[in-house]
């Protein structure tokens, strides 16, 4: 794919690493971000915006536990509201990291090296944000562990026929593997930070995290084997997690949910939204930290191409979903499609169609693909579009199902919005702390890439 990306289309726009960049440049530039005495001003400004949102999340959660799930807009028939939509959205965002890291690693796509850490971290925090919601949305969240198969004294097990139990396994496995993958990949970088840290406290902290890494050949050999092994483990998870999440819907008999297309549809949508977030994060970060030599517009363009590809799959799924509603001659499905497009929530449908299908077509134009500003805007629009799509799937399918007398409209409350904003704040703050204290580019991988490229002719340095 990398070859195709670089050679088969228009002449390559930019190299994977700006020419003249050495291993030392990478290490110095990246570790300087972490080891600087003071963070840049914008960092404080961003943290000051994110921290109150985390506080809001705390307040919203506390009030939720005190008063009950009724503080949200959920009702009969829309028993699942923002919480589940947010869950699906965040999980989707959490897809690009593993995809970039694991699948592209196995495919030997070396261009991934400069953005894999960014994406993996995004995955980790997005899955954390996602994981909050299934627990918060429970009527009695303090009993969430009843979904876990543990040997309870009453000999009651979870019900393994329920996709919510599968969900529990899928998400927790995904989080565990993602965390391990992220951490294992970071060990050599942590050792670099340990060696370069100026203060004793930092040296001890990074030293502990580096697990005694000395960079011996044996270390590298084992590390590589472990890393590839984890990548192999993570690869099926990229497909399985969102497939299982989609089964929460596909398994139910609700029109709009009960459809076999949902697993691939959800996986494509997840990768789509994940890459959109990678772009919205990478574009400002490379500018703010002056990392344009390391995260080049080439990376951005590759992401944009993936975005375009998954966007077309998503568009195809939209078409098929509606085609099947007609083709199956199921009156309930037909009513759902009509209601989705012309019912009380119709604006949602048209907005997400524009954001997810129309806007992404701009990426056919090379100039747009290489423009960080455009990519940022498109990425942001796709994020919004995908969130609205999740909301639409959850709410519009439920609010008018089989029996018209039981129909009703969901209206989100201030607490619904507060919880969503809170998780965005949590994500942002966690990410800010990550870029402040951990290397946001995989230095050792980059150094290896530069060393590998040095031996090759100039043309190949683009691939």
């Amino acid at each position: 794919m990398g070859t195709a990306l670089s050679h088969a289309t228009v002449p390559p726009a930019a190299p994977v690493v700006a020419s003249g960049t050495t291993e030392r440049d990478v290490v110095e530039r990246v570790s300087a971000v972490v080891l600087a005495r003071r963070a840049p001003l914008w960092w404080y400004a961003a943290a000051a915006m994110a921290a109150p949102l985390v506080g809001l999340l705390g307040v919203a959660t506390l009030w939720l536990f005190v008063a009950g799930i009724g503080i949200w807009g959920v009702m009969r028939p829309v028993m699942w509201g923002f919480a589940i939509a947010n869950f699906v959205w965040w999980i989707g965002i959490g897809h690009a990291g593993t995809l970039i890291s694991a699948i592209l690693l196995l495919l030997h796509q070396s261009w991934r090296e400069s953005i894999n850490r960014l994406a993996e971290t995004m995955t980790l925090f997005a899955v954390m944000c996602a994981g909050i919601f299934p627990i918060l949305h429970l009527g009695r969240p303090w009993f969430f562990y009843w979904l876990v198969p543990y040997p309870a004294q009453m000999a009651i097990w979870p019900q393994f026929r329920s996709p919510l139990v599968w969900d529990f396994f899928a998400v927790s496995t995904y989080f565990t593997v993602s965390l391990l993958f992220w951490y294992v990949g970071m060990i050599p970088d942590l050792a670099i930070l340990r060696d370069r840290a100026g203060t004793r406290g930092a040296r001890i902290a990074y030293g502990i995290l580096a697990l005694g890494w000395r960079g011996s050949g044996e270390h590298w050999r084992r590390h590589h084997r472990m890393y590839v092994l984890l990548a192999g483990l993570a690869t099926p998870l990229v497909v399985s997690v969102h497939s299982v999440v989609s089964l929460d819907f596909a398994y139910a008999m609700v029109p709009g949910w009960h459809s076999t297309i949902l697993p691939p549809y959800f996986v494509a949508g997840a990768i789509y939204s994940g890459f959109a977030v990678v772009l919205t994060l990478a574009v400002p970060l490379r500018r703010l930290y002056g990392l344009t030599d390391i995260i080049t517009s080439r990376h951005l363009e590759n992401c944009a191409k993936l975005l375009l590809a998954t966007g077309e799959i998503v568009a195809y799924c939209y078409v098929m979903e509606h085609f099947m509603a007609w083709y199956s001659a199921n009156p309930f499905d037909a009513a759902l499609v009509e209601n989705r497009a012309f019912g009380p929530y119709a604006p949602l449908f048209w907005i997400y169609l524009v954001c997810n299908v129309l806007v992404v077509q701009a990426l056919w134009v090379p100039r747009v693909r290489r423009s960080p500003v455009w990519l940022f805007i498109i990425g942001a629009l796709i994020n919004i579009g995908m969130w609205i799509e999740r909301v639409d799937i959850v709410i519009v399918s439920l609010h008018r199902d089989f029996v018209p007398s039981a129909w009703g409209n969901f209206v989100p409350t201030i607490w619904d919005w507060a919880t969503l904003a809170g998780t965005i704040g949590f994500f942002a703050l966690a990410y800010l702390l990550f870029i402040r204290y951990l290397p946001l580019v995989a230095m050792s991988d980059m150094a290896k890439l530069i060393a590998d490229l040095r031996g090759k002719p100039a043309a190949a340095r683009h691939g």
């Binding site: 009724g70 009969r76 009651i156 018209p404």
Partner: protein, 988 residues
Amino acid sequence: MSPLNLRSGHSDSGREYWRILEDPGAAQPPSSAPAGSPDALTRRGFLGIMGASLAFAGGGGCSRPPSEPIVPYVRAPESVVPGKPLYFATAIALDGFSTGVLVESHEGRPTKIEGNPSHPAGRGSTDLFSQASILTLYDPDRARETTERGEVRQYEDFIRALRAAVDAERASGGAGVRILSDTVTSPTLAAQRRAILRSLPAARWHQWEPLMPTANATAGARLAFGRDAHTVHRLDRADVILALDAELLAGTPRSLADVRAFAERRRVAAQTEPRMNRLYAVEPALSLTGAKADHRWPLRARDVLPFAATLARRLGVETAALPAQVPGGIAASALDALARDLAAHRGASLVIAGDGQPPAVHALAHAMNAVLSNVGRTVVYTEPVALPPDPGDTLEALAEDMRAGRVRVLIVVAWNPVYAAAADLTFGQTLERIPFSAYLGLFHDETAEKCRWHVPAAHTLETWSDARAWDGTTSIVQPLIAPLYNGRSAHEIVALLDQGAAAPTSGYDIVRGYWTSTRRERDFERFWRRALHDGIVPDSAARPIDVALRPGWARAAASDAPTPPRGLEINFKPSAVVHDGRYANNGWLQELPQPLTSITWDNAAQLSPRTAGELGIRSEDVVALDYGGRRVLAPAWITPGHADGSVTVALGYGRTRAGRVGNGVGFDAYPLRTSRAPWFDDGLTVEKVGTTHPLAVAARHHDMQGRDLVVAGTLEAYHRDPNFVRARTSHTPRDRAGQPLSLYPDHPDAEYRWGMSIDLGACTACQACVVACYAENNIPVVGKAQVQAGRIMHWLRVDTYYAGSPDRPEVFHQPVPCMHCEKAPCEVVCPVNATVHSREGLNEMVYNRCVGTRYCSNNCPYKVRVFNFLQYADWETESLKLQRNPDVTVRSRGVMEKCTYCVQRINAARIEAEKQGRRIRDGEVVPACAAACPAQAIVFGDLNDPASAVHRLKQSPLDYALLGELGTRPRTTYLAALRNPNPDEAKA
């Protein structure tokens, strides 16, 4: 023992459980002890005392039964077993006329009301008001103290003050003394009235109710027959019924008997040779009667008289001066068809005039029934059952006397005249000028505020009394529990006026004394116990009388002829849920979706789509109703089938002193209601105010969307093809047994397979089943805001669908409880096994296990699962705890709940059956909804028993499963709704 006495002396409780105490009043502590009220009890104190009282009483429980012997319905009191309820027969009145009920009592604590099978009114069923009255009994807002101008007083102070005031009047024969009571059907109260008027000959006794269902009927009978006659309809004998703006099927004291008889004639599934009655209705606002009618024409209330007169003339009635032109909207051919249909069923037809129609319409109905030879067959005239109202004994006469200063002592034992009296009487203002006024009321309400004295009334379930049903059958009202708040009955208050010191003062002595004096039996005790046990006094139905139309009646009736119309028409109707307003503080009823509109916690000005269009009004717009110089603001609600040019408002809302539940709910329509036009009048103008008032509507969609939800047909189609229901096309793949295919294995066979059948042809959507379900299953009330948020908690709802044109819609009702699917979609998605299938086919909900993912509700195609989004159940109010059914868990927040088929009743029957080593018999398990249903539309039982009623009904070709094509295999199935339109008219 009563919680009131828990602190003051629990040691004397329990043991006196079945002992006779001469005077319960003397044994009670002073009433000015608010610390003893249930709410003031601490939990620890309550538990401690509970333990003590259980020890003393040997399971006597937490509330003291009345001290006098009351007779259980089924078992002797010696066999009181803790945990086993006893049932006592008593009676509950609506508009003065009683319904026989059995009250379930758990260790002295009444918890649930069922119909009394031996009582002719309900024959075992109940209406929603009697179902809900158990909640009023425990209402924490009930008045607790005797007060004088708001100051707490001893009851003895009141007695002294009353006696002094009355004694001052004795010299003049009681000229300044007035008593205002509800409709008197109680023989004891009638006797007390006679005694008082004997000792105070110049005093007057006025009867009044806001609705007075007998007023126009009595006047109509006087017009037609020249004498008092009480009309009893026999719908069981009627093949063709015409309702002239008459609500037969809900909300009146006649309804229970009428619904039962009506539904009996429409239950096609059980008949080998299917026949149905036919109902015609003309009315302004769509009523449950109109919704059930085979032919219905929307007609302004004022047009009912010319319609009736025209019809009467075609039937050969001499109508003389009465106007007789066919009102617009009804084709002359349709009227001819109706007349032919009525005439073709001589002796088996029935014309019924509504309570709100003027006497002339009643007289016309009497005349038509006479011409159609229905008298003595479908309509029976009897001696008056209630004390006949005398023109001098009306509320108007009382108000006139009050204004003139002729009233110095006024004792009000009627319900709340300050709130509900006709606006032109300005009753409240004049009442304040009366030197001595006293009010006996359950609540410190609008009238209590204006009266000098207020004495808390005892609830019906705390009272000794007697009352008569619509057909005259008399019941002794026996208390189930000692008054919680020292309430008094009307008998006890009225008895205070009696001079003799020896006269009995306790309700028990008064009532028993009356019956002792009238019964000639040698063994009075035997009679008494029998009457209490059965809930009826044998052979007490009113005697039929012979009546004949008096000549010239039509000329006299012509004075009711309407004047030319001016402006819009205003129509007053009792609320379907709070009646005349007396149930305003009852949360179950306020939250009950009102039949046909599904509005809760509000009333609205209802008008037709066309009229609303002309006025530019949309539903929930606030409109100003201007009539007679008075203005009331109300939210509008567009109602299909409403007559054009007419606006209907429900009475009973906008209370200011109802209590915490009822205050400020809805708008008060009484200010528009005058003594001249208590039911309808024209001259109304309606204009938009510009604001909106969002209503809490439990179901906003009444269109079936072309879906196969209510399967309906006509009797004719059924005769042509009895299998028309099963012949509907379905693309669902099915197995050899005809069941939809499923991946899941079938559940193994068990001894019982519980199932339910609901007859949509019989259901009238009266909602009694829904209230019964609330009472039986401890279902919480959530309030208007939560209903608006879509979180109403009812386990059973009655869906209403409209078909056809909005001007003359066809209406279908569908009660939807849990379907108890054999392939339940809810069960497979629950991650924690909180909803599981029982061996006998129940879809069970394990509250303790539920973590609240709500997935089950999403996957329920019927949406019958409800969720405790917040802590809805009231765990704080002590008095409400007493109402709870001890056999049903009170749910906490965060758990799902739903219909259980009343599993507690199944298990109670199972225990009995297993003790006796037999199977549970058919009919032994009756869920609360089925027990309450006056139409007997809900039948429950064992599908394994081929002889069971439910099994037979499910063999009917009319049987179908709601959304059966989804493969859920519901255990609850429906019988298709059949109508019986006049083929003659269909041709026309």
